[in-house]
Each structure stands twice: as C-alpha cells, then as structure tokens.
C-alpha cells in the first residue's frame, strides 16, 4: 500500500463507521450534537467543546419513521428519524434541526414529538439572508442556539472560543476545497468512492484532526505527477452522492469527478466565515454570502446554472451528472432552469434518480455507461 492508499483507507474506515466514532467520543466523556443539513454553524458546537456530527440519513428503508411521514418525504429526512427511532441517536446530547425546505420544517416538529428525550435546537435560517435585517436575524437565532448549547454543556462559551472555532473550520474548508481540486486532477489516485469517503468523514471527525489528515493527503497529491486520464470527466450535482455502490459505477466506467455542486460536499464548504470582531456576526455574514444552492432564495434563478457551467469549464469537465434526490422539491423545481442552461451551453447532462433506499443501481449503470460513451465519442 502506498502512503496515499493508507491515508485513504483511514478516511474510508471513518466515513463507513460513524457509530464507532460516536461510541469513541462518548467513551472519552465528550458530548456529541447531531446536525441536520444544511448550514448549521458547527463552529458554535465546537467552541462549546462538543462534537458536531452530520445527520444526512443512512442507506436503507424507513420503517418506524413511516408512522410520522407521508411517503413523499425525502429519504434523507425519513432515515434521520428512522435512526432516531431505532435508538442510534440516543447517546447524542442534542440535535440541531434546520428548516430550510418544506420537508425539513414539518420534520422538525415530527422529530420533536417522536424524540422528546433528545434536546432539539430548532434553527430557522432566514431566506432573506443578505440585507442587514437578515444578518441581524441570523445573529439572533445563532445566539439563541449558542444559549441552548451552553445549557447542554453547562458552561459559558466566550467570543474567543468561537473565534478559535471559526479559524479551525475555515482551515478545514480550505483543505476540503484543495482536496476537491487535487482529486479532480488525480483521478488515477483518488477514485470516486474514495473522494466521497474523504469528504464524508469530515462529518464524523473533530475538524482539526480531519484538517491534519487532509493536509497530509493534499501534500502527497500535489507532489504526484499529473497523469493522462483515459476516461471522461464530469461535474456532479445534487443533495448527496455517498453510496459506494453507485460511485463504483463511475469508477468502473472511468468517469472522474472533476468538481461538484453537491450539498453534502462542495456546497457546504464554499464560503469561509470572514473575520469580524463579533464572531456571531462572522457566522451570520458567512451564511448571508452563501449562494448557488437550490435551498437558498435566489431572485435571479440563474446564478446556480451559470455557476455549474463555470464549474464544468474551469474543471475541464465534459458533462454534468445530476443526482436527483427523490421527492426533493427544491432540486426538482430548479432542474428545468439548469437543464435549459446546460442545453444552451451544449454541455451534456445526465439526470439520475437518487435516494437512500436504492440498492440496485442497474438502470443507473446502463445510463452512466451510455453517458460515458457519449462523452468519449464527442472527443
């Protein structure tokens, strides 16, 4: 095994075993807070000396959660509640539940009813996030969240603690952005499966440790010579794309991920928190600066499609694979404008249905192989 492979295996081990990570934190006497997607200011949790762990559902079928949801709720939200009802989250000291889409909003109430023993922090981000009143509103809800965290941990969190946490998180975001670039340049060294594991592991690790490991990997990748890639290059877009069986199909067909517009991946670390004397304002401004996301209000409707076209051009990709989360209204509603923009820009696009329940990707395999054939014939 090369040094790169050894590091990648460590990332994969963590990404595939969040339960083991959780057990370890608990055995070390640390408190863990679960975080729903999207844009939770994890810095506040870190600053309070607790461990934030991402809750993005897991592979499988909802069973107990069906009692709480109509069938047309996305599997991400259904599987989060399923994990809670199965007792997988019982060792958490709290859960931050966000409300940025019409599925998350009712889910927050269902979660509260179903899991009344886990303290729930209700985080209602504003859609009008850019004007000063939006920033002030975000600051108010972040301050409230901080108060609730202080109650859980039993101590006050200082501005200095939060500033330090912001520094740690900015460094981690920077390392992840570097990694995405490096992985795009070295598909022969980083498979789609491994790329996903490296990024996913950060949801289960203390960020400074993830950054240390990732910086080491980035250094090794930067020192590796760039080899000619005998395959195709794409940009992926969607909410989440972490199923190794699916990603393996990309690898089998030599489809490299040159860049991504995935909420679970790059959308979550595009923007750093800028410096401000008041660290809560830093975090609120960071959220105000977020853009090009289906779940964020965008009066122009066009910024995300043009962002994805730029991603394709800048990463030297040949096409876009859209992983359409089943029953995700925000993604579905924005798809036509993306489709039209890509068509106009003559960028081939493949849309594939995706959710946590799919176990057989047979049809996706055929589509992906055909898409790779289309892209390579165009060369």
């Amino acid at each position: 095994m090369t040094d790169i492979e050894i590091l990648l295996a460590q990332f994969e081990e963590i990404a595939n075993n969040p339960k083991k990570q959780l057990e370890q934190y608990i055995s070390e006497g640390k408190k863990v807070i679960g975080c729903y997607p999207y844009y939770v200011p994890e810095e506040l949790i870190y600053a309070a000396g607790m461990i934030p762990m991402g809750l993005w559902g897991k592979r499988g079928n909802p069973n107990k959660a069906k009692e709480y949801f109509a069938p047309f709720y996305c599997s991400l939200v259904q599987m989060n509640l399923e994990m809670a009802l199965n007792g997988d989250l019982q060792k958490l000291s709290g859960v931050v539940h966000t409300t940025l889409c019409d599925t998350l909003r009712p889910s927050s109430q269902n979660f509260r009813v179903a899991m009344d023993k886990i303290p729930m922090i209700f985080l209602a981000h504003p859609q009008n996030r850019k004007p000063e009143f939006g920033v002030e509103y975000t600051m108010a809800i972040y301050s409230k969240m901080l108060n609730q965290l202080e109650e859980i941990v039993g101590r006050k969190v200082s501005a200095g603690d939060i500033k330090e946490a912001i520094k740690v998180y900015n460094e981690n975001r920077q390392a992840k952005r570097e990694f995405v670039k490096n992985a795009g340049m070295h598909p022969e060294l980083i498979s789609a499966v491994q790329r996903s594991a490296v990024l996913k592991s950060s949801y289960f690790m203390e960020k400074h440790l993830h950054t240390t490991m990732l910086n080491e990997l980035n250094k090794m990748l930067q020192a590796s010579p760039i080899e000619e890639w005998h395959g195709t290059r794409v940009v992926t877009s969607g909410i989440i794309c972490d199923n190794p069986s699916f990603l393996k199909i990309l690898d089998d067909n030599r489809i490299a991920i040159a860049a991504d517009d995935v909420a679970h991946e790059s959308r979550s670390f595009r923007k750093d928190a800028p410096y401000n004397e008041d660290p809560i304002r830093s975090l609120a401004v960071q959220f105000a600066d977020q853009d090009q996301d289906t779940i964020l209000y965008d009066p122009s409707l066009n910024s995300r499609p043009s962002h994805i076209i730029d991603l394709v051009k800048n990463s030297n990709a040949q096409g876009v694979i859209v992983l359409m989360m089943t029953f995700c209204d925000p993604e579905e509603m924005e798809y036509p404008s993306l489709y039209n923009a890509l068509k106009e820009a003559k960028i081939p696009c493949l849309k594939i249905g995706y959710n946590h329940q799919i176990t057989d990707f047979g049809q996706a395999r055929t589509s992906l192989q055909a898409f790779a054939e289309v892209l390579s014939m165009k060369n």
Partner: protein, 261 residues
C-alpha cells in the same frame, strides 16, 4: 480477402438476442431466446446463431455484448451499453434516423442520434414497468389474450377509453374494473396502447422528437402501440423486421468498428 465475422449479443431482461455480421455489412444469422439475463438464454442464443450461420465460435473475430446482462457474457471481447448499440443498429437500418424509441421487456428509452449515427443524448423510463413490454404482458394476462393478439384486436376498437399511464398495478385494476363493466376488450386494448403511448410520448418529448423516428425493441412488433405512438407524437414512425435484434445488430457493428480501428 478474408471475411471478418463479428457477433453482437444483446442480453435483455426478458429475451436474449444474437446476431452475426459478415464484414460489418451482411447479416449471416440471428437468434432469439425468450429468456434473458441470468438464464440459459444467452448461451442458447449463441449456439443457435452459430449453427444457423454454420460457424464455430473460433470463426468469430470479435464478440460484443450489450443489454441488461451484458456483464455476464464471458466470451465477449468487450461490452457496450445498449443505448449506444441501439443508436448504431437503427442508423445502419435507417440512415436518416434522428430519434429512436426503444421499448423492451422492462424499460423504455428514447435516444437521439447525430448525423454520424452516434448517440447524442437519451432518456430512460424510471423504475416502474408502465409503458414497457412487461406492462403489455400483465394486461394481456388480465384480459386472457395472447400478447401477439393485442395489435389485431385493438384495430377492432370502436370506442375510446382511458387507462392510467402512471402505474402498472393501477392500470391492471382499471382493466379489471372495465371488464367487470362488460367493456369491449378491443376498446380496453386500444386504451392500453394509448396508455403506453402517452407515457413513452412524455419521455420522448423530454429531449424533443426529431424526424426520422424509428421504433425498436420487442414492443415495436405490436402495430397497435406503434400507431398509438404516431398519433400521440404526430410523427411518422418507422420500424423493421429487425426491431428486436437492433441492439445485437448495433453491438455487432461496434465489434466490426473495433477491428477496423
């Protein structure tokens, strides 16, 4: 000149098809077995086409597999997706083709072909079997008729009735309730064909329909579905006797191309 023989094997979900080409032009044999991936179908189809072509496996210069079970063919030199193969096969038969509607046993696809016969883009149905060959089989069973009889019976229809196009299970219960109301079976069958046309038509319109339109796959044999699709799309649709072998034909053509490179 030495003759070059290439074989295309299309292992579908419900049938296995084989076709041998001589010098990339002449079809020397073809075979079809009514079972597909994971069965003895592919092996039987291979043996059958070899014997009808009077060839041995060793005489073949290149074997290309395609279709749902393409990965299971050990003797294949390489494999390609059935979408690329359908594009190539249809272009060979109809050089003016730009849109291909392929309805197989368990899926439906609409392909766009460029001026050079290469696949440009495509749309596939989702997981539901509504609008596929399987849908017709389920309906034929409910109506107690053979699938082969559906086309001729639909021609006798006098009244328009609507059958759901969203779900095979719902459509089957609609058919049963129509039977309970003593609705003429010919009318029900025409409704079923229109139901398939509506679903596949929606798929086709996703990327646009460009003439010439060619229909391939097993369901192309059912002229009732073909005519319903023509009505739905407002385009003339061509098909051929080789409709069901189109994927295997495309695979044999790609195999020849591999050798000539």
């Amino acid at each position: 000149m030495i003759d070059i023989y290439t074989m295309g094997i299309d292992v579908g979900s419900t049938t296995s098809k084989c076709l041998i080409l001589k010098n990339g032009k002449e079809i020397t044999g073809k075979s079809l077995v009514g079972v597909g991936a994971g069965t003895s179908g592919p092996e039987r189809a291979i043996q059958s086409v070899l014997s009808s072509s009077k060839l041995e496996l060793e005489d073949l210069d290149y074997i290309m597999s395609t279709g749902y079970g393409r990965h299971t063919i050990e003797i294949a030199d390489s494999e390609m997706s059935e979408l690329s193969c359908h594009a190539r096969g249809a272009y060979f038969q109809f050089p003016n083709v730009r849109t291909i509607i392929d309805i197989g046993g368990q899926d439906a696809k609409v392909l766009h072909v460029g001026d050079d016969g290469m696949l440009v883009n495509f749309a596939m149905n989702d997981k539901c079997s509504a609008g596929t060959g399987r849908f017709l089989e389920v309906m034929a069973r409910a109506l107690e008729v053979n699938v082969e009889e559906l086309a001729s019976m639909s021609q006798l229809s006098k009244n328009n009735i609507t059958i759901s196009s969203t779900c095979t299970v719902f459509a089957e219960s609609e058919v049963i309730s129509q039977l309970a109301k003593n609705t003429d079976r010919c009318d029900i069958i025409k409704g079923i064909h229109r139901s398939i046309a509506s679903r596949v038509g929606a798929l086709a319109r996703r990327n646009g329909v460009i003439d010439d339109v060619v229909m391939t796959g097993g369901v192309a044999k059912n002229r009732g579905v073909l005519h319903a699709l023509e009505e739905e799309l407002g385009h003339k649709i061509y098909t051929s006797e080789l409709a069901q072998y189109n994927g295997a034909l495309g695979a044999a053509l790609f195999a020849y191309q591999k050798l000539s490179r």
